[in-house]
C-alpha cells in the first residue's frame, strides 16, 4: 500500500490553517464534483480530495496523520504500525458516501465506520444507487442486460471494501434517460432482522449509430436526392420498429422534419420518431451528370443566396 500525501492532493502547505484547508477543499470540490464537473476522471479526483479533506479537517485525524507522515514519503510502501492510533480519539462523523482508499481504510476504517453509521435507525437495510449506460435497443425491445457494479461494503472486521458483483437485469421496456430501475431487495443487508434495501439504477443511453435520442423522442437524418425532395417520393427509411416506406411531400427542403407519431421510445405515452431530411447531391464526375447539372442551371432561374441580399 502506498503512503498518500494528503497535503499534495489538496495543494496546501503542511502548516496550512484550517481556513486554508477548507478553502482549498471547496475550490477542488466544485471543480471535481461528479454532479457538476466535466473533467475526465472527476469522480476519482473528487474521492481523493474528499478523503484528504476528511483527514485534514479533523484536528485529531490530522494530528495522527502528521505523526505518521514524519517517517514516510509519498508513494513509498506503507504499513501502519500496530497501535499507531493509540491516544487519538476520533469524533467527527464521516461524510459517508464514498469508498476511501486502502490507505485511508487502514488508518481510519473502523472509526469511520462506527461514526458514519450515525443515529439513523430503521429496520431495513440501506438502499444502494448506481448509474449505468444502456444501449437504446434495451429500452426499445426490453430484454435482459448484464451489469457489473462496484459496491462498497463493510467486511466482518468493519473495514470498508469494494466488492464487484454482476447482475442480470430485465430492462423495463420504454425506459428513458434519467429514469431509474428499481431492484427490490438488492441493496444492503439489514443490520438487524429487517428486509434488505433496494438497488436503484439510473439509466443513461450510449450514443446510437443511427438515432439521436431526446427524452422519449428519436430522430434520424435521412439523406434524399434533390428530385425526391422537390417532386415528392416514397423512400425506405429505418425506424426502431423496422424499415418503413416514408412519403416525402413535394417541395421539401433540407432540414424538413417529418414526424412519425408514437414511433419513438415505447414509453407511456410513446415518444415520436422524427425524420430530418438532408439533401444529398449526386457527384458530377462524368459527362452525363455534368450535362444534367448544366441543363438544370440553364432551365432554373435560381439564386440560392437571395436571402443574403447578393
Amino acid at each position: 500500500m502506498e503512503f498518500k500525501d494528503y497535503y499534495t492532493v489538496m495543494g496546501v502547505a503542511r502548516d496550512a490553517t484550517d481556513a486554508q484547508i477548507k478553502q482549498a477543499y471547496r475550490k477542488l470540490a466544485r471543480k471535481y464534483h461528479p454532479d457538476v464537473s466535466k473533467e475526465k476522471d472527476a469522480e476519482a479526483r473528487f474521492k481523493e480530495v474528499g478523503e484528504a479533506y476528511e483527514v485534514l479537517k479533523s484536528p485529531e485525524k490530522r494530528a495522527a496523520y502528521d505523526q505518521l507522515g514524519k517517517n514516510h514519503r509519498p508513494g513509498e510502501d506503507f504499513r501502519p504500525p500496530p497501535d499507531w492510533d493509540a491516544g487519538f480519539e476520533f469524533s467527527g462523523a464521516g461524510s459517508g458516501n464514498s469508498a476511501y482508499s486502502d490507505f485511508f481504510d487502514s488508518l481510519f476504517g473502523a472509526q469511520a465506520r462506527s461514526a458514519r453509521r450515525g443515529d439513523f435507525h430503521s429496520g431495513q437495510g440501506e438502499d444502494h444507487h448506481a448509474k449505468v449506460l444502456l444501449d437504446l435497443e434495451a429500452s426499445l425491445n426490453g430484454g435482459a442486460r448484464t451489469f457489473t457494479l462496484r459496491m462498497p461494503e463493510f467486511d466482518a472486521s468493519g473495514r470498508l471494501v469494494s466488492k464487484e458483483r454482476t447482475l442480470h437485469v430485465q430492462i423495463p421496456k420504454g425506459i428513458v434517460s434519467g429514469q431509474q430501475i428499481r431492484l427490490a431487495g438488492q441493496g444492503a443487508r439489514s443490520p438487524g432482522e429487517g428486509k434488505p434495501g433496494d438497488l436503484y439504477i439510473e439509466v443513461d443511453f450510449q450514443p446510437h449509430s443511427l438515432y439521436r435520442i431526446d427524452g422519449r423522442d428519436l430522430s434520424l437524418d435521412l439523406p434524399v436526392a434533390p428530385w425526391e425532395a422537390a417532386l415528392g417520393a416514397t423512400v425506405k427509411t429505418p425506424t426502431p420498429g423496422g424499415t418503413v416506406d416514408l412519403k416525402i411531400p413535394a417541395a421539401s427542403h433540407a432540414g424538413s422534419k417529418l414526424r412519425l407519431k408514437g414511433r419513438g421510445i415505447p414509453a407511456d405515452p410513446a415518444g415520436d420518431f422524427y425524420v430530418v431530411l438532408q439533401i444529398a447531391l449526386p457527384a458530377a464526375n462524368d459527362d452525363k451528370a455534368k450535362a444534367a447539372y448544366a441543363a438544370m442551371a440553364s432551365a432554373l432561374p435560381f439564386n440560392p443566396r437571395a436571402s443574403l441580399g447578393v
Binding site: 470540490a29 458516501n97 461494503e153 458483483r165 423495463p172 429514469q179 428499481r182 438488492q186 436503484y200 430522430s219
Partner: protein, 102 residues
C-alpha cells in the same frame, strides 16, 4: 446481498408515476423528515399530490439525493443547493437538446 448468479432480476420502472410519501423519501435518503420539508419549502422538491398526505414522484428521489450530495460535499446552504439543482437540471436539459439538434 446475493452474490453474482445467473438469475435475471425483474427491474421495475421507477419514474414520474411512482408515488413516495415523505417517510419513504426520508428513509431512502437516510435523512430526517424535517430535511425533506426544508427541501420542499426551498422548492428543491415538489409535492405532486396532497389528497392522502404529501406525495412525491419517483423523480424526487433523484433530486433529493443530488441535493444532499451537493449540500454535504460542497458545504452549500439550502438556497445554494436549490440554485445549483435548478442550474444543473437546466444545463442537462440544454445539453440533451443540443445533442438532439447537433
Amino acid at each position: 446481498m446475493s452474490a453474482s448468479d445467473d438469475r435475471v432480476l425483474p427491474g421495475s420502472l421507477f419514474d414520474e408515476s411512482a408515488r413516495l410519501s415523505i417517510g419513504d423519501l426520508s428513509r431512502m435518503c437516510a435523512v430526517d423528515e424535517r430535511h425533506i420539508v426544508e427541501f420542499v419549502e426551498e422548492g428543491v422538491l415538489h409535492v405532486i399530490d396532497v389528497s392522502t398526505g404529501w406525495r412525491f414522484s419517483g423523480d424526487a428521489l433523484r433530486r433529493a439525493r443530488l441535493a444532499l450530495r451537493l449540500e454535504r460535499d460542497l458545504e452549500l446552504n439550502l438556497a445554494g443547493v436549490a440554485l445549483a439543482v435548478e442550474l444543473i437540471e437546466e444545463i442537462s436539459q440544454l445539453r440533451s437538446e443540443l445533442k438532439a439538434r447537433r
